[in-house]
Amino acid sequence: MSSAALTDTVSAAGVDWHSDEMKARRRARYASDRRLQIYGIIAITFALGFLAILVGSLTFTGYTAFTQTVATIEIDLSTAKVDPANIGEADWRGIVRGALRAQVPEMRRSDERKFFEMFTSSAPFLVRDAVVDDPGRLTGKSSFTIPMADPVDQLAKGAISRDIPENQRRINDKQIGMYDQLVANGVISKPFNWGLFFNADSRFPELAGLAGAISGSFWSLLVCFVISFPIGIAAAIYLEEFAPKNRFTDLIEVNINNLAAVPSVVFGLLGLAVFLGWLGLPRSAPLVGGFVLALMTLPTLIIVTRVSLKSVPSSIREAALGVGASKHEAIFHHILPLAMPTVMTGSIISLARALGETAPLLLIGMNAFITSPPEGVFAASTALPTQIYIWADSPERGFVSRTSAAILVLLAFLVLMNGIAIFLRQRFERRW
C-alpha cells in the first residue's frame, strides 16, 4: 500500500490481478480505507458523546434546583403584639418560632434548636418583609411561605438518603421525624423556585438566586455593546474602504488578528492595571467589566464586519458612485445597510461569547459576595459566569445543584442569543 508498492504494480507488466496475492492486497487496501473511516466516526462520537454527557450531567444535577422545598405556615398576627407604626422593631424571631413550634406540639424543649435549624435562618426577616409590604396582614391570620434549610431540601429531593447512618448525614433521625410530621400536617410543598431568578446571592443555598448576576451581566453586556458596536464598525469601514495600503495599516491588521487570539486573562490584567489601577474606576463594577469585554470583542467584531463589507458586490458601490454619491454616501447609504444583517449576526455571537467570559471579570473583582442586584453600571456586582464560579467553590451541598442550574440558565441565554443570530442570518442575509 505504500507508494512504492503502487508504482511497482503499475509498472510491472502482465500482473495476474486475480491471483490470491493481489486479492489479499486489494482487501488490505480497502480495509485500511475503512479503518480511516471508522477512526473518523470514533473521533466524532467521542466529541459528541462528551457533549451529551456534559449537558446530561448538568441537567441531571441541575434540574432539582428549579424547585425548592418550602413550608407554608399560618401565622395569626392579630394576637402578636406588633406595633403597626413600627413593624420592623417587633419580635419577629419569637413570633415565627412560636408559629413553627405550633406545628409539632408534642416536641420536647431540648429538640427545639434542631427543629428551628430545619427552616431557613432568615425566616423572621422574610416574614417581616412580607408584613412590611402588606401591613393588612397584621389584622388576622395569613399564611407565609418559608423555605426549608438546605439539608431538609436535599432530603425532600432524595439527595440525602434515609438509609445512610445517622452520623454521616447532615440531618439526624429526630429531624427526619419532625420533617415527616410536617409533611403529615400538609405544610410542606415543592413549588417552582422563583427565588432562583428573583433573589440575589446568599450564603444560604435555599435563598441564593441569580438576580444580581443576571442584572450584572446585563449591564456589562450593555456597556460592551455600546462601546464595541460603533467603534468596531467604524474601524472595519476605515480599514476596508478608506485606509491607504501601507506599513502602518498592515501593522494594524496583524495587530487585530493577534489581539483576537490573546488569552482573555491578559485582558483581565489590562483592566486591573489600567481601569482600576491608573484610572481609579470602582472595583467589581459592571462598567469596568463592560470595558474589558468590549476590548475583547472588538477584534472579532472588526474581522466579521470587514468580511461582510467585502462580500457586498462592487457593482453596488460603483452604481452609487456613478449617480454622484460621495464615497461616504455610497458606504453609509448602500453598502453598510446591505452588510448589516451579517454584522448584526456577528455582533450577537460575539456578545454571546462575552456573556460566557469569566477570567477577566474575576480579575477586576466581579466575584464579590453581593446580596443585592446592582442599580447601575457603577454598583458592585457579579456576572452570570462569575456567579457560577463562586457557587462552584461553595461547600454547601445545595450549591452543587444551584451551580448546575445557573449553568443551565447561562446556556439558555447563549442558546437564545445564538438562535436570534441564526434567525437574523437566515431571514435577512443576502447571497450575491
Binding site: A43, A235, P263, V266, L269, L270, H328, I407
Partner: protein, 456 residues
C-alpha cells in the same frame, strides 16, 4: 451626575440637529444660487459641533479628575513630603472611605481636614466641569448655527468628522495592544525590582503564598517560574494529545467521507463544543471528570490527586477539538481538486489519497491550526483554575496535580489588589510571559496559515 450630563449633551445635539436642518431648509427655499449640501447635513454638522467637543472634554475630565484631586489632597496633608507612595495611597483610601461615609474608626483631625478639602475640591471640580461643558456646547451650537448658509459645505464637514472617528476607532486595537504591553511591562518591572529576573526565570521553586507572610523569603527564590511553566506544558500536552487526533480525524471524515446531510448536522454540533463557556467545562471537570480520573488512577495503583492534570487537560482538549477540526477542514478543502483527482486516477483508494496526497498538501494549514489551538490551551484559564492544582510540582504523572500560569495569575489576584506587594506583581510578570508565549505561537500560526493560503 455624568449620566445626566451625557443625556443633556445628547439632547442638545438632537435639538441642534433639528434647528440646524430647519434653518438650512429655510435659507435654501429663498435662495437663487445652487446649494452645496442637503439640509440634513447642516443639521448633522450643527449637532456634531454642539455635542462632540463637549463629549470629548467630559471623557478626559472624568478620566483625569480623580488622580489630580488625589494629588492635591495628599499634597495638603501635613508632612506629606516625607511619606512614601504606600502610605500616601493608604491615607488617600482612608480619606475617600470617610468621605463616602464608611467610618470604621474615629478619623484623626488631619484626616477630617483632608476630607473637607477633598469634598470642596470635588465640588469645585463638578462646577468647573459643568461650566466648561456648558460653554463648549454653547460655542459649538452658536458656530454650528451661524455657519449654516448656501455656500457652506456641510457635507464635507460631516464626512471629515466621520472619517476622524473611523480613524480613531481603527487605532483602538493598537492602543489596546500598547496598553496590554505597557501595563504588563510596567508592573513586571516593579516585580523584578523586588525579585531578580534571573531567579524568576530560572528558579525551581514557586511558593508565592509564603512570600506574603515574610517578605524576605521572596529573596530566596520562592518565585521561580520553571515549575509553573512545566505544569502549563504538561496540561497543554495532555489537551493536545486529546484534541489533535480527534480534531483531524473528525475533519477528515466530515470533508471526505460524510455525505452532505450528515455534515450539515454534525458540524454545528461540534461547533457547540467551542461555544460552551469555559467556566461550564471547569465545573464539569470538577464534578464529573476529576472523580472518574481519580478512581481510575487509584485502580491502576498510581498516586492520584483529586485535581489531576489529566482531568483538566482532557476536558480542555475536548474544548479545543472544534478549533482543530474546523481549521483542518479549511486546510483540506483548500487542496486543489486536481491533486485529489490525479491520485484517484492512479487507482488510489480514498484512504490512500487522504494519507498520501491530501494530508501532506494540507499539512502547513493543519500545523497552523494546531499552533493556534496550542496557544488557546496555554492561555485557557477557567478550566484549570477550577480543575487543576494550586501547588507547583514538577511531575510527569498525569494523575498528580500541577499548576499553570493562568491558575497562578488568577489565584494571586483574586480578592487582593494592593499594587505594591510582590505577590500581586508576580501575577503581572506571569501575564507578561503568557502574553509573549501566546504572541509568538499566534504569529507563527497566522503566518503559516496565510502562506499556505497563498500557495494554492
Amino acid at each position: 451626575m455624568s449620566g445626566y450630563l451625557l443625556a443633556i449633551l445628547a439632547l442638545a445635539a438632537l435639538v441642534m440637529h433639528f434647528v440646524g436642518s430647519a434653518r438650512a431648509r429655510a435659507t435654501q427655499n429663498g435662495a437663487s444660487e445652487k446649494t452645496h449640501s442637503r439640509p440634513i447635513y447642516h443639521g448633522l454638522n450643527a449637532a456634531i459641533w454642539t455635542g462632540v467637543p463637549a463629549f470629548i472634554f467630559l471623557l478626559l475630565w472624568l478620566a483625569g479628575q480623580n488622580s489630580v484631586i488625589n494629588q492635591l489632597v495628599v499634597a495638603s496633608f501635613p508632612g506629606s513630603e516625607s511619606l512614601d507612595a504606600t502610605t500616601r495611597s493608604l491615607i488617600m483610601s482612608e480619606v475617600r472611605q470617610v468621605a463616602a461615609g464608611n467610618i470604621f474608626k474615629e478619623p484623626t483631625p488631619e484626616i477630617q481636614a483632608a476630607v473637607t478639602h477633598l469634598k470642596s475640591l470635588q465640588q469645585i471640580s463638578a462646577i468647573a466641569m459643568v461650566a466648561v461643558i456648558a460653554a463648549l456646547m454653547a460655542i459649538g451650537a452658536f458656530l454650528g448655527y451661524k455657519v449654516i448658509g448656501n455656500r457652506f459645505r456641510a457635507r464635507h464637514s460631516v464626512e471629515r468628522s466621520v472619517t476622524y472617528f473611523m480613524m480613531f476607532s481603527s487605532l483602538v486595537a493598537i492602543v489596546t495592544t500598547l496598553g496590554i504591553i505597557a501595563s504588563l511591562v510596567f508592573e513586571a518591572l516593579q516585580f523584578f525590582a523586588k525579585v531578580p529576573i534571573t531567579e524568576f526565570l530560572f528558579g525551581l521553586r514557586w511558593e508565592p503564598q509564603i512570600a506574603i507572610r515574610a517578605d524576605q523569603v521572596a529573596g530566596q527564590g520562592a518565585f521561580g517560574v520553571i515549575p509553573v511553566l512545566f505544569g502549563t506544558f504538561v496540561i497543554s500536552l495532555i489537551s493536545m494529545i486529546v484534541a489533535v487526533p480527534t480534531g483531524i480525524l473528525s475533519a477528515i471524515y466530515l470533508t471526505e467521507y460524510a455525505d452532505k446531510r450528515f455534515r450539515a448536522v454534525i458540524k454545528p454540533l461540534l461547533e457547540i463544543l467551542a461555544g460552551v463557556p469555559t467556566v461550564v467545562y471547569g465545573f464539569f471537570a470538577v464534578l464529573t471528570v476529576a472523580p472518574a480520573v481519580r478512581s481510575l488512577g487509584i485502580s491502576l495503583g498510581i498516586e492520584s490527586s483529586p485535581n489531576s492534570a489529566l482531568a483538566a487537560g482532557a476536558v480542555m482538549g475536548v474544548m479545543i477539538i472544534p478549533f482543530i477540526s474546523s481549521l483542518s477542514d479549511d486546510a483540506l478543502a483548500a487542496v486543489p481538486t486536481a491533486m485529489r483527482e490525479g491520485s484517484f486516477a492512479l487507482g488510489a483508494t480514498k484512504g490512500e489519497t487522504i494519507r498520501k496526497v491530501l494530508l501532506p498538501a494540507a499539512l502547513p494549514g493543519i500545523v497552523g491550526g494546531v499552533l493556534l489551538a496550542l496557544s488557546r490551551a496555554v492561555g485557557e484559564t477557567m478550566i484549570v483554575v477550577m480543575a487543576a492544582g494550586l501547588i507547583a510540582k514538577m511531575t510527569v504523572n498525569p494523575f498528580d496535580a500541577v499548576t499553570t500560569v493562568t491558575v497562578q495569575i488568577v489565584t494571586l489576584l483574586i480578592g487582593d489588589s494592593e499594587f505594591d506587594n510582590p505577590k500581586t506583581l508576580a501575577a503581572f510578570a506571569l501575564g507578561l510571559i503568557l502574553f509573549i508565549v501566546t504572541l509568538i505561537l499566534n504569529l507563527i500560526a497566522l503566518r503559516t496559515v496565510r502562506k499556505y493560503r497563498e500557495k494554492y
